[in-house]
């Protein structure tokens, strides 16, 4: 028995929709079976919260008097890209101040950057804007220094080109020295294994073939309503999948947009990764309409059925070698220890499972109380049948062959 999204929305409007989180649904399906669960349940909510470096914000300041065509801009001394129309800028999550020592004294601290500017804006704190330009007849101002606040901006929206990675690497370090990565501090000789996925709660792992999640899908983004605006960069629907269709390595991604003025710093947080850089943790959740039994089967996926690829970040990863160490599942990762090369290895997560749960729960509440209706996707993401891959960059001469 198939349901349409319109039928589900009618139930949501009458406060009669039956909603589970992607964690709660597992037991429900185990007890009642796929068929009955598909009939009874209308929506399953997902969530994830973790560092997502491909994030950033578009800001419009309004025009100063006299007007200025902002060429270069800094927010709290962090460079924002200004080569757009006069008073639009884009601040990227990973930008660091021009005078930051970075890794000159290794490992660098990276205590402030683009992610922190975004968090400061969402927190409602004043941010110092400095801008320069060359001056034109219509935009004569060449310099500008002022404080701005998100309340006064015309628009402030996140446009994150790659969020919510469908599965991710587990990082280990097979070398003899400590290494500092975007997946945290990795102790030598496989001293720890760090991962970053909400596993069974993660949005794209609950809709592995992007049947319901597509362009136009309404989502939870940073505590507010946002949208999937495009396929994400590096979207790779042809990644390796297991029998159930679940990718065993980084696969699909989404580009998302949402109004920062409605967001909360509980779900958008700046990140300082020692020895690596600055980033932004993004809280994101997607409601999945249970349109048929197949969708119910997909959302009932559990941690033990989701594998992740363990990669050596001291050698294979930086050198872009295809070698993998092994595969482990999320039940074992979440248990605190995994076995890698016969050795018991403690695990740590860079994403927060407890916030992922909270986000899925929030979405559930929004739908149950009728404040969030589901949207129909307006276009599908490229699927496994598209043949689209994640291509590497080969270093080459103009018009010539690659050097390897």
């Amino acid at each position: 028995m198939a349901k349409t999204i319109q039928e589900i929305n009618e139930k949501i409007k009458k406060n009669k929709a039956c909603v589970f989180t992607a964690e709660e649904i597992i037991q429900y399906v185990e007890k009642n079976g796929i068929k009955r669960a598909a009939q009874e349940v209308d929506v399953v909510t997902t969530g994830t919260f973790g560092p997502m470096c491909s994030s950033g914000a578009f800001l419009n300041f309004g025009h100063s008097s006299p007007r200025m065509k902002i060429q270069k801009a800094w927010l709290n001394d962090v460079h924002a890209y200004g080569a757009l129309a006069a008073c639009d800028v884009y601040i990227g999550a990973t930008e660091i101040p021009d005078d930051d020592p970075a890794n000159k004294i290794h490992p660098g601290k990276f205590s402030y950057g683009g992610g922190h500017v975004i968090e400061d804006l969402i927190a409602g704190r004043d941010v110092f804007l400095r801008a320069t330009s060359y001056g034109t007849d219509c935009y004569p101002r060449k310099k500008l220094e002022t404080y701005i606040n998100i309340k006064e901006l015309n628009q402030a929206f996140l446009l994150n080109p790659r969020n919510s990675y469908q599965n991710y690497n587990v990082a280990v370090n097979k070398s003899e020295r400590v290494i500092y990565t975007y997946l945290g501090i990795l102790q030598p000789n496989i001293g720890n294994a760090n991962y970053s996925s909400a596993g069974q709660l993660s949005p794209l792992l609950n809709d592995p073939y992007y049947r319901t999640i597509g362009i136009g899908t309404k989502i939870f983004l940073g505590g507010a309503v946002g949208y999937v605006s495009w396929q994400g960069t590096q979207h790779n629907p042809t990644a390796k999948r297991d029998k159930g269709g679940v990718p065993v390595e980084g696969a699909g991604t989404i580009c998302v947009t949402g109004d920062m003025k409605q967001m909360s710093t509980r779900y958008i947080r700046a990140v300082s990764m020692i020895g690596y850089g600055v980033s932004l943790s993004v809280g994101l959740g997607i409601p999945i309409p249970i349109i048929d039994e197949e969708m119910m089967k997909f959302v009932s996926v559990k941690d033990e059925d989701i594998s992740a690829t363990v990669v050596d970040y001291s050698s294979a990863y930086p050198n872009r070698e295809p070698d993998i160490v092994t595969r482990v599942n999320y039940r074992d990762l979440r248990s605190g220890t995994v076995t890698i090369e016969g050795q018991s290895v403690p695990t740590a997560s860079l994403s927060s499972y407890s916030l992922a749960k909270e986000i899925a729960q929030n979405l559930k509440t929004w739908i149950e109380n009728g404040s969030l209706l589901l949207s129909e996707k307006v276009e599908s993401l490229p699927g496994a049948e598209s043949g689209q891959t994640f291509k590497p960059l080969e270093i080459r001469e103009k018009g010539g062959d690659t050097d390897d």
């Binding site: 560092p51 945290g184 501090i185 102790q187 990140v271 300082s272 980033s279 403690p346 927060s352």
Partner: protein, 144 residues
Amino acid sequence: MTEHDTKNIATRNIMLHYPKRLADKPIISTLIKKYDIIVNITRARIDQDEEGTLVIEISGLKKNIDAGLAYLDDLGITFKPVSKVIKRIDERCTHCSACIVVCPTKALAVRDRESMVVDFIEDRCIGCGLCIPACPYTAMEMSE
């Protein structure tokens, strides 16, 4: 040790500040050999200017500890008792668990694998400070 002795045993956590002129003196060794004090070094740091900070747990007979501390005082080493050195700013913690693999005493640990909440068990904390740079959200702080 007799029962009388056991009653007179004391354990204290102290933070010492070494000036540069004492950097090459065998001070800890003296505390152990001359004053019969058990010393457990929980944190040690030498700055670029060769001044040092040391957090130690000392235990022994009360009279020996008093004599040992008087010896440090005579040398011109400043010291102060340490109670809770590390604190967590709870509203900054996102419970990611990046800290748990660097904590040597499992003072930061995920005990409930359902909620996946990271607990800070202060009794287990030795003030080593390894969690401070490991936390992406600057939720761990040293209060001195």
